[in-house]
Symmetry: D2
Subunit: 344 residues, 4 copies
Amino acid sequence: VPDTDDRPLVLVTPAPVERSRIFAESAWDRLNELFRVVEVRADDDELLDRLLPKAFAVVGQPDLPKARLDAATALRAILNVEGNFYPNVDYPTAFARGVRVLGCGPAYGQAVAEMAVGLALDLARGISREDRAFRAGRERYLAGRTADSVLLRQSPVGLIGFGNLGRSLLPILKGFETTIRVYDPWLPQSLIAQLGLVPASLEETLAESQFVFVLAAVTDTNQRLLGGPQLSLLRPGARLVLVSRAAVVDFDALLEAVASGRILAAVDVWPEEPMPADHPARSLEGLVLSPHRAGAIPAAFTTIGEMVCDDLELLAAGLPPVRMQAAAPELVGRYRNRPVTSHE
Amino acid sequence: VPDTDDRPLVLVTPAPVERSRIFAESAWDRLNELFRVVEVRADDDELLDRLLPKAFAVVGQPDLPKARLDAATALRAILNVEGNFYPNVDYPTAFARGVRVLGCGPAYGQAVAEMAVGLALDLARGISREDRAFRAGRERYLAGRTADSVLLRQSPVGLIGFGNLGRSLLPILKGFETTIRVYDPWLPQSLIAQLGLVPASLEETLAESQFVFVLAAVTDTNQRLLGGPQLSLLRPGARLVLVSRAAVVDFDALLEAVASGRILAAVDVWPEEPMPADHPARSLEGLVLSPHRAGAIPAAFTTIGEMVCDDLELLAAGLPPVRMQAAAPELVGRYRNRPVTSHE
Amino acid sequence: VPDTDDRPLVLVTPAPVERSRIFAESAWDRLNELFRVVEVRADDDELLDRLLPKAFAVVGQPDLPKARLDAATALRAILNVEGNFYPNVDYPTAFARGVRVLGCGPAYGQAVAEMAVGLALDLARGISREDRAFRAGRERYLAGRTADSVLLRQSPVGLIGFGNLGRSLLPILKGFETTIRVYDPWLPQSLIAQLGLVPASLEETLAESQFVFVLAAVTDTNQRLLGGPQLSLLRPGARLVLVSRAAVVDFDALLEAVASGRILAAVDVWPEEPMPADHPARSLEGLVLSPHRAGAIPAAFTTIGEMVCDDLELLAAGLPPVRMQAAAPELVGRYRNRPVTSHE
Amino acid sequence: VPDTDDRPLVLVTPAPVERSRIFAESAWDRLNELFRVVEVRADDDELLDRLLPKAFAVVGQPDLPKARLDAATALRAILNVEGNFYPNVDYPTAFARGVRVLGCGPAYGQAVAEMAVGLALDLARGISREDRAFRAGRERYLAGRTADSVLLRQSPVGLIGFGNLGRSLLPILKGFETTIRVYDPWLPQSLIAQLGLVPASLEETLAESQFVFVLAAVTDTNQRLLGGPQLSLLRPGARLVLVSRAAVVDFDALLEAVASGRILAAVDVWPEEPMPADHPARSLEGLVLSPHRAGAIPAAFTTIGEMVCDDLELLAAGLPPVRMQAAAPELVGRYRNRPVTSHE
């Protein structure tokens, strides 16, 4: 890092995310043009500590306890590129210092929303089930096995949790003219109503909806929010799509409800990943199984890199970031999502 | 049929469609309240010939040559409930007589549109493919197998044919902010442009689209419209969804394009139904197989019954029908869809 | 008309509409390229009678009694470019002969819909009233005179009549997330509900709506549909927009309701045109006055010419017309709109 | 304020806004149920200073220099209910303390957006101009004076500035299928493109648009952004709607462009309010004059009260506010909007 370079210093330490996954070549070039960029390996504490005092921004989620933040006197922003806020950063110090703490959650919104709708339509029509049957020579043509097919159009939909995912879902669901009930205890009813949605209790949302999308992140208060008693409120034939985190559901109760034939479900997030090889979920007819693929697609990853470039450029120009999501001081300590580790 | 009943006489002869499939109990009751209804079995020519002279309307698609129409002096409407117009009716005579010839095509629009989007999202994200892998214990979590995943949002979409199905697709696609090219040689470009779509040639539609929906009915001029040369225009990685009729595609060329890995496709309509048990399509990884299920769902069938009631009630009141689709005199003889027979 | 020209013969006799108003130069050139075109003056019966036997189509609304139609053995279409169907055509003969009778109503849909929304927003916010006050030096800034201002968003809207105008209004109203009640006795409730609207009685539509759009054409049964008793059902502060025909309203009762301050109204169609110079409507504060301008704009007129070209080209190719509106045999004799005469 | 009341203390000092204007009775009751509420008159510094040390939140925009904030040790939020941030608050201290600084800007978004569209449609069709003519007995019926009428549908639209107002406009403009160019130097192009809009330079936005909406707040860098040279880029016949602040426009140049007949404009915000009685703007035919009424309507005011209740309730529960807008530390010192004073 030459001293004569007066561009702001940006430390890039994205582990466990691979740098090349989130920065397309063009974004990486752009970042290096605008900033002095130094990549810091996850285990190179020495380099991190040496450069932090001059750093304008940190891209990644390294440990940033008070001592490190105190040393980072020029720091203006911490840009998390993993998707979850963990307790390895002294957030109160960062906020008091005016250091922007930004998350990349919105990058996944569209990818998860489209997958959620794809899973819902699969459940509505038995797409993957009948594809399997066709491959096995057991297909039934025309109305031979459509008795449980339903339309999404004008049907009642329920959203459990209404954050980035819910907001990305809305424009898509609008095309189906659905009535949408929303349960989110962190939002006032007025906000939900203003969007043309129906604020509702958890119970009402479950009981009145033909399609239920579980979109809530895990917090200190919502684990196993959907237990057996709650799931029993679902209508016979309801379709449940789980794309946020498995911990908000009593997973055994969910599988039981599917196994009994009372509901159909699509699951993208699992209590263990990988799931045990002999787990009975693998052979449930009423289940669509997706191995945590809803958000992890190329377009979402490279969006993160673009967001980082965009917001760093704004910050360097003295403007507020607009693409990543500012961490809420009230909430940043309340999430309980586990780190997502790669199984590739 | 008592002579003292002065309600208009409606003959119901829906074969090969089952009457109870299209008339929910409430619709059937309503029909019987408004009209004198007589059900006529498909093979009961004698009854048909006896009642036709007094019939106000025929619900179904029996043979109606000139002689029969000439005898049916009170006939005001023929309501086809099967979905295709066949040459067993003397249409010119009907039109000259002012007999309304109505089709139930719009009843299937929403069902097919939702299925088409479900299939497109399956192709976009590998939903059924990865469900199969999960069941076989071969799942890959997170980005392990999402390299070919793409978003529908803001991607270029092509529609081959723009009739009822295309119109039902539009509101759904709007939620994805796609650019939509339309090829339909029976429509002026201005009509397409006024809807906010891009009129295009077949070649441009194929070459420029990430997602292609084949929606054209079979006519006297479009069989094998999509042959090998046309399919070779598709982008690598294009997704093709075929939900109208197999005959508009060179099926072998399509399967070859999928087998080569150049494109992914979802097929709901087949050159033979059932397909041979040992057909190689059954094991193609890049194919989503659906046994002609896109339209044949309960909500579509019962919509037909409601449409029949609604339009007969209007006609009896001296008003034009608005729910079924009037046959175009210019086109009614040009369709080449084969009868869909039940394989249940 | 040279005999060696085998292009179909099209007679253009648009009076009282001026030919150059509906045919932009490009459309006129296109028409003349595709067809042998002969312009026939309104009073040149001799020419009309001489050419009719060879005519493929007539563009305009000349008298076409049975004798003339019988002589017009090659006639395939009558394209009305004035906007209303009058009893000067023997429609039953045309229909029996398979002659297409087409109207240009849809050309006006968007123009009237945008005007209707503009008038509604004017009423919602007092735009023209406060512009007048500003010009007179009587303006009040900020909340000085906004006590009666209301939002359109999420407010209840009522449509009286749901034809071309209503359909053009829908996409615009969608942007305001309104609840829309529809009263139209010629449509089944199911059709209205399928569009996401609420079928309602006239009384309910009037009583429950903050904004009421009167969109019904005049027929044999709906004159003075909105009389004093009906208007008295409107909520205090309701906004009524009249853009179809004055005859569906008891005009004196309407003005009285406005004069009393109970409702606000915008009127584009009048019982007499021009209105008497001393008519009290001219000074009503709660009225927005528009001299029948909602549809009569350049973009609507030239759309008619394009529609004519498009549909004639389709008809000449043996395809059904898709841009103009086929006259319904059941209705063509029931309209009572008066001819609109030009006052320029 | 009884000491035994352990509800959080909220000081309400909304001057120059009247308390009853923003708090409907129900909102006021709700606020008083949830909190100990004390109203503080604008000039009662003594009371303010006495209560600040125990205050949980301040609703209003009193002077809050460092000394006061230092004394307000329990303060969690400052809720501005006037609409603009002024330099009478020591924002850096508030941010360092983690005091939420919230603005009510979003409350006005829908009201201004609907007014802006109403003004645009007035300009598109001459609604107020022809209403004036009708009242003066100079009306022209039908196409008599519609030569300059244009449609909004599918026309090019430009937005100058894209904040709360722009976001509220979007859903409405969507109903017109417009192409929307956006100029906003504080936003990355990617954000604009992701919304389906076209990022553009100021010059391109002006030159390519049929309708231009000026939505930018006044900042330290954009005063007279639209000067004579910029306005000269507008197309002949362009419609300009100014609803944010007059200072972003060279007002004389704007009036000149209107007076010359080259463009039409609607103005809701003025360089002086009230404008001089003899100002020539008052008689310009091509101008729609609106005395700063776009946002100041009952529904917007009472929304502010609801937002205050909602966000205070969230904050008291340890949750982040979601309805008001958090002040951006980077921008809060850069606005140059003048206080809006009441002229009633």
